[in-house]
Symmetry: C2
Subunit: 476 residues, 2 copies
């Protein structure tokens, strides 16, 4: 089965049963990429782990042999953060998929990293509790990956992203040490390793257990949909709602192209003549929802909404959300290829950025649909293109870089929830100064002195930064 | 004026005007401690800084001469985190006290580190915004110190502690590099330096600018007071309220001794026959507050409250809160001396911990009053003693250690909002393993390789940990 001549594979087989060590070019092929398949690499070997003790043993092996170690869960990541390293071991935590305990008094669940996001809410439902962060991939993505990317979701405006919903975790370092960060209480003395691990993309250690905060299920949720004559008016309404003191459970925006694509795809009943729509969930106690509704509806009207509708019932609400959730495949039908990017801007700058995206797209003769977490200022421009056209991919890459770098210019960032991975490693050189990058590398070295954990992702080298900055200067 | 023979003082005087360099044993005396005066030390020199450029210059001087650098703001800290180092420079950021800008659209304020906490809310009030974290010292403490200690407050249950209300900061490292962490958007790629700096007690760098999140002022606040026949019943009511899906703006608890002391001190109208009371603020839109009230009142009744009162008007609400806020000086009147400690436990373990505190106190023949942020599980036991009694201080220290270490035992931590400083450096050895302490030291070394920044605070050496653990073992 295994290429017994590879000493790393042989050593792995002494740690794990043979059926959980995968090697050989064809057998490792299913693991060559995550959900951004433009980046591919076949690992030297795949290790399917079932326990923290196995993770410790694999980490020690990698340290001893100085072999790169990339860890992943379900592989649903969108920035190639889980792309394997050709010379290294790919450690897969998916088999660690047990919910260890649910404590309804503490309102927490202790879970292994391979537990699928949605499983937690399903298991907690009997206690009227749920796990709030809900990335689009929540039926497949696992909590270990959610921590690695600090995943967001539609309901993170009100309830926070992953880091705000995790109270503790266990982390195996490349030395095989097991560290506990956080615990049952959010407040912890010492340096905040818990926050440090969130979004670190497997570069500081391997998460082997996560304690998540559970939230009481709201007793009522009502949905509003508002149509706007301009993208700017819809964007300004987003700020106005939050400014009025209401934090909706969800506050999403779709522009005309996204509306058109979705309406053709699954007929959610969106207004084809609107330049943009907002989809808004308000949740809480019934009276609280009524109170929020009484604030939000006039704000929408004052912001220039041409129509504001309340979902009549659960079925209509479901249909309206179905449209939003189908937006990516729907746009996919309008175009041979598409590429979704992820940036965040201050909420009150959304209008400026959407207008800039239009200008940039025209420059490269490309079309962009926008469907995104407006309340968080987390944009997801979907660039439509035909990969068979000459230089199409090149134009898409330039447009994506222009958009992300404009996000930085208005005080935003190059990612909201998809992470940096390999995809946006260049833009780190724009977002951060050399002193800041050097500091990130020093923090990485504090946990991973030989830089064996997910090398080449998230934090570029200083040389890489300088090269990219020179390249952009010569472009521009 | 200055002892010109000290080359450090001379070098400082080349950086700062002479009136902002303080040296000489008597002249530095006012700076010898923070608000935990049991720890005192006179610094070699005090530097009053007015700009980031001055901070950079002082940091470089300390690095060059390998001199310890302790930074502080208003000096209101309660764990000796700002106690000077005898051989080093004490850098005081209080003169950096300007609010640089308030952006009502972004709902943020950019401020210098010496700005007093309450000033921010005062300046933002015209925009109907406020800065939510409200430590008891908010009329005096400054935002730089709030970041250093990750300060909490009565209203942090609903609105979060400092780290959840800061979106960005500027940090000067001991090398004199200026780093930006965070920004106008909360989501940031790379490692979370913003979170890392919170609670780091000046050990990673000196904060020179803070961008804080502002919150819309709630349009209504109503207050409830509930009397309970047992401490346990009151504690259980705290969990039950949150479990019912309501997050009060404030949820505070006082036990019989605290009630008695306060009632004698300022007559807020508390029930002298209650074993414990809860003080609850509910805020938001008027309908939302009514909805929360309709949930909370029955929960209190079901939890065994013997009486639940609503504050009739603003004056009564103010009086009820005045009692809570006077609790420390009030307890001070009942006893020649008192010592307030700070620990956090999971909310549903409050009852167990309060009962344990009673048992421990009896062991050392001491009395303890309890008045605390119950919603956060953040306890503030006030140990009453007479410093003139033989071995009183020794008994107090042992009782404090027993309480803090019991907090750890039930899944809590040794601090909620006062920090570790020097006061609780021993307990770090109980809260964390050697591997975890070693990791903290590695993170410190990543930013402060010569360990010049606030040495000896927050993170103990491994030798210190081992000594303390042996000492506790021999204590029995």
């Amino acid at each position: 089965m295994h290429s017994k001549r590879d000493p790393i594979v042989e050593a792995l087989c002494r740690i794990l049963p043979g059926d959980r060590v995968i090697s050989g070019c064809e057998r490792v092929a299913p693991f060559e990429c995550d959900a951004l398949p433009v980046y591919r690499e076949r690992p030297r070997a795949v290790a399917l782990v079932r326990s923290e003790a196995e993770v410790v043993a694999v980490a020690r092996l990698c340290r001893e042999w100085q072999v790169p170690l990339v860890s992943r869960g379900a592989g649903t990541g969108l920035s190639a953060g889980a792309r394997p390293d050709a010379g290294g071991i790919l450690l897969v935590t998916s088999p660690m998929d047990r919910i260890l305990s649910i404590d309804p008094d503490a309102m927490t669940a202790r879970v292994q990293p391979g537990v699928v996001n949605l499983q937690i809410s399903r298991a907690a439902a009997a206690q009227n509790l749920f796990y709030a962060p809900d990335p689009s991939s929540q039926i497949a993505c696992s909590i270990g990956g959610n921590v690695a990317e600090n995943a967001g979701g539609v309901h993170c405006l009100k309830y926070g992203v992953t880091v705000q919903n995790v109270t503790g975790l266990r982390l195996v370092t490349i030395d095989g040490e097991v560290l506990t960060a956080g615990g049952d209480c959010p407040a912890q003395p010492g340096y905040d390793l818990l926050a440090l691990v969130h979004g670190s993309e497997g570069g500081l250690g391997i998460v082997t257990e996560v304690t998540v905060r559970l939230t009481p299920q709201p007793s009522r949720t009502r949905m509003l949909m508002a149509d706007f004559p301009t993208v700017r008016a819809a964007a300004d309404a987003v700020s106005a709602i939050v400014r009025a003191g209401v934090i909706p459970a969800a506050l999403e925006m779709m522009d005309a192209l996204a509306i058109e694509a979705t309406e053709k795809f699954c007929h959610p009943g969106y207004a084809l003549d609107a330049a943009a729509i907002l989809l808004i969930d308000l949740d809480g106690q019934p009276q609280e929802v009524a109170a929020d509704m009484a604030v939000v509806e006039p704000v929408l009207a004052r912001s220039g909404a041409t129509r504001v509708q309340r979902a009549a019932d659960a079925a209509q609400r479901e249909l309206w959300w179905k449209g939003r959730k189908s937006a990516f495949p729907a746009v996919g039908r309008l175009s041979p290829d598409y590429y979704c990017i992820d940036g965040t801007v201050p909420r009150h700058r959304i209008g400026d950025v959407l207008e800039a995206i239009d200008r940039f797209a025209a420059r490269y003769q490309l079309r962009v649909a926008n469907v995104f977490h407006a309340g968080d200022g987390n944009l997801h421009p979907i660039i439509m293109f035909n990969g068979r056209e000459v230089d199409a991919v090149d134009r898409v890459e330039h447009l994506a870089a222009d958009i992300l770098e404009y996000c930085i210019e208005v005080g935003g960032t190059i990612t909201g929830e998809h992470g940096v991975g390999l995809e946006k490693i260049d833009q780190m050189a724009v977002q951060f100064s050399d002193a800041e990058i050097a500091q990130f590398l020093a923090v990485k070295d504090a946990l991973d002195p030989d830089r064996l954990l997910n090398p080449g992702k998230l934090i570029p080298t200083l040389a890489h930064c300088q090269e990219y900055r020179m390249l952009r200067k010569s472009d521009g």
